[in-house]
């Protein structure tokens, strides 16, 4: 095993609270009677629906076509009938079209297994499969995977880095996947290496998951896979591409460039598993592991959930709330999105659903900035959140842009560390929105 490492600039140490769910095995949830499948589950242009009200759909049938280079296909996770195409608000606060499908339980049942031998396939064929089956990054950003796995001309991939960091507090879906589907993840990472023609595969795992590390290490030794495990110190936001690459291969991505510019392709553990299933079983991305946790959940756990399942259904599977939650979050507490409607569907990027109690969501009184500079110290991108905040507050959006506002990825370190409890991340979002609006 390699020597333990981490990234250098910034970062914070939030309480991880993973003990609530990290020992809970992944449970498959039954498909509900009615599901809602949004056509915008990925970064980029929403897919265009190719079904209409009244259409019958099959399990795994393509119901939305990718509408551009950065876009992804949407598949029906079930067999049934389209009741309507409606507009709804997604947890990220955007409005999008969605298909409401009445489920035909019998036809939706899992059927015959397809087993492709991936070692016999050529890389282009594999990338095409990843594209056709709608695989996107499942760590949260939901970047279309086929775009990531297509190495642009003139560039070369040297490393495939598998992201098993899961640095967001509460979330344990990737952790459980590494324990329960370890071999598939390892094979999936070798498939990615084949697609991008990379020689080295490194899996980055934070040291709060020793069991997952041991499990993968054992599998690697047993099968003598050409994969290395990189143990990492605990530090948020290590699960971000930029920080992960610095921690694993010691190289830094410059502002405005991509991992491939330093010869690396990064894939999250969840997406790697989805890639494995897509290539060997021809299975589109129609279900995912979701961690349901937080102080207000009676029995937190990890669930394999059909995409489109209303969040209410998974909460019910946890025996409901133990108290009225103060805040509901889709994703992790640092970068996830607050939402209020329990009918909101689970999507490709929903890694967790959190119901936080008043005590956990700690709002606290806002006070004035005392220019202590702790946000500057914590910012992993080397920005000056305090100055950005003050400029955005005064509507000096151009000045904020000149201070590299766009490099901010809204990881939340600054707002987490701020003793004055200033809404720093929201102000960055506001600044980006307003400078877009101006143009």
């Amino acid at each position: 095993m390699r020597k333990i490492s981490t990234f250098s600039k910034g970062g914070v140490h939030p309480a991880d609270r993973k003990d609530l769910t990290c020992t809970k095995e992944i449970v498959r949830l039954p498909i509900p009677e009615i599901i809602t499948v949004p056509f915008s589950q990925h970064l980029g242009v929403p897919a265009i629906p190719n079904v209409k009200k009244g259409d019958a759909v099959e399990r795994g049938q393509k119901i939305g076509d990718a509408a551009g280079f950065i876009s992804a296909d949407i598949h029906s996770p079930v067999a049934g009938k389209v009741l309507e195409i409606k507009e709804l608000f997604l947890p990220n606060g955007m409005k999008a079209k969605a298909a409401v499908i009445e489920v035909d339980q019998e036809r939706s049942a899992l059927t015959g297994k397809i087993e492709n031998d991936w070692t016999q396939m050529d890389p282009q064929e594999m990338v095409a499969k990843v594209k056709d089956l709608g695989i996107v990054g499942m760590g949260g950003a939901t970047f279309p995977a086929n775009v990531k796995f297509t190495v642009p001309k003139g560039k070369k991939a040297e490393y495939v880095v598998i992201n098993g960091v899961e640095c967001e507090p509460y979330l344990t879906s990737d952790h459980r996947l590494m324990l329960e589907k370890g071999d598939k993840i390892l094979q999936g990472s070798m498939m990615i290496a084949k697609m991008v023609d990379a020689k080295k595969i490194i899996i980055g795992i934070e040291k709060n998951k020793p069991d997952a590390m041991d499990n993968l290490e054992r599998l690697i030794e047993q099968n003598s896979y050409p994969i290395e495990i990189q143990p990492l110190k605990l530090k948020y936001p290590q699960g971000d591409e930029k920080q992960l690459l610095k921690a694993t291969i010691g190289k830094e991505i410059q502002s405005g460039t991509l991992p491939i510019d330093i010869g690396a392709v990064v894939s999250n553990v969840g997406s790697t598993f989805a890639v494995y299933e897509a290539i060997t079983n021809d299975k589109p991305l129609i279900e995912r592991v979701v961690t349901v946790s937080g102080g207000a959940i009676k029995n937190p756990g990890n669930f394999l959930v059909t995409i489109g399942t209303p969040i209410q259904t998974i909460i019910d599977a946890c025996d409901g709330f133990s108290e009225t939650p103060d805040k509901m979050i889709a994703g992790g507490p640092m970068m996830g999105f607050g939402f209020y409607d329990l009918q909101t569907p689970v999507m490709k990027g929903t890694s967790g659903v959190l119901a936080l109690t008043k005590k956990e969501s700690i709002k606290g009184e806002q006070s004035a900035c005392i220019s202590c500079g702790r946000c500057v110290q914590a910012c992993p991108m080397g920005l000056q959140p305090t100055k950005l905040y003050k400029n955005i507050k005064k509507a000096n959006y151009d000045t904020a842009m000149a201070m590299n506002l766009l490099d901010c990825k809204e990881c939340g370190c600054c707002a987490f560390i701020c003793p004055a409890k200033l809404p720093l991340v929201q102000s960055m979002r506001l600044g980006k929105r307003m400078s877009r609006k101006k143009k």
């Binding site: 607050g338 209020y340 709002k363 809404p423 929201q426 102000s427 506001l430 929105r433 307003m434």
Partner: protein, 268 residues
């Protein structure tokens, strides 16, 4: 002793005279020639420095008119009078530009009592910041979020928030620069003529049932105003009534009385 005082006095006087001549010489010799037309145009502009024309202020706009042949119809606060004045200075003909003075108004009468909210918002008190999340906390996505981004941008302090939680524009103070219209994320701030009698206090394109679920004072698109008072200039488009201010209306006040949700309100 007295001599010292006289010497000092003389020295300072002589120096003062010399410097005075020096400055007088410099101001003549080193003077920067400014186009008189720029000064004249600047005088003709209302000096509100609102930025509605797209330039940094009145001086910058005046400079652009003279030196870069900028469009002379851009000054919203000045309106037709300013246009004529500028045209005269520049030797142009005053064309285009509507002569009706327009003022801003919030086309929503909802507040905490009348309108439902979906969740409690506790972020930055700015409409655009609130709109990032589900287009605001209100169930109605077209209404006024009442966090006052328009108040912040108004260059003449014409906009205030009342105790009832509604945003009001003082039409006597409003210069019609449309900065509030630009900043408003829901588009509820719209321009109406200064002498408009009535306005539709709703901006919702939702169907009637959805409007009723969200708010008690919204336009439900029932078309009573359009059908029963055809001469009054109402048309309902996308479940929202609109007033045509260009016609001579008849019975507009009756329609306002007949409106079941009283969203046709007097523009005072």
């Amino acid at each position: 002793m007295i001599l010292n005082i006289i010497y000092a006095f003389l020295t300072v006087s002589v120096l003062g005279t010399l410097f005075g001549f020096g400055l007088a010489f410099a101001s003549k010799k080193l003077a920067i020639k400014k186009d008189e037309r720029v000064l004249a145009v600047e005088d003709a502009l209302p000096s509100a420095n609102c930025g509605a024309c797209g330039f940094a202020g009145c001086a910058a706009y005046a400079d652009a008119i003279v030196n870069a042949a900028a469009d002379i119809t851009l000054c919203a606060p000045g309106g037709a009078t300013t246009q004529v004045a500028i045209a005269e200075i520049m030797g142009l003909e005053a064309t285009g530009g509507d002569s009706v003075k327009m003022v801003a108004r919030v086309h929503c009468f909802g507040n905490d009592e009348t309108s439902k909210k979906d969740f409690s918002y506790d972020g930055i008190l700015d409409c655009n910041a609130a709109a990032i999340l589900f287009q605001g906390d209100k169930s109605c996505k077209y209404g006024c979020l009442a966090l006052g981004s328009c108040i912040t941008v108004c260059p003449v302090d014409a906009i205030t928030k009342g105790e009832d939680g509604r945003i009001n524009v003082d039409k006597e103070v409003c210069i019609g620069c449309e900065k509030c219209v630009t900043v408003c994320p829901t588009g509820v701030m719209k321009m109406i003529p200064y002498d408009a009698d009535y306005f539709i206090a709703c901006n919702s394109n939702d169907k009637g049932a959805a409007v009723k679920r969200a708010c008690t004072v919204g336009c439900i698109g029932c078309k009573i105003c359009e059908r029963k008072f055809p001469e009054a200039g109402y048309t309902v488009k996308n479940f929202l009534s609109e007033i045509d201010y260009t016609i001579e209306p008849e019975g507009r006040d009756k329609a306002a009385e007949a409106c079941p949700t009283s969203c046709i309100r007097i523009a005072d």
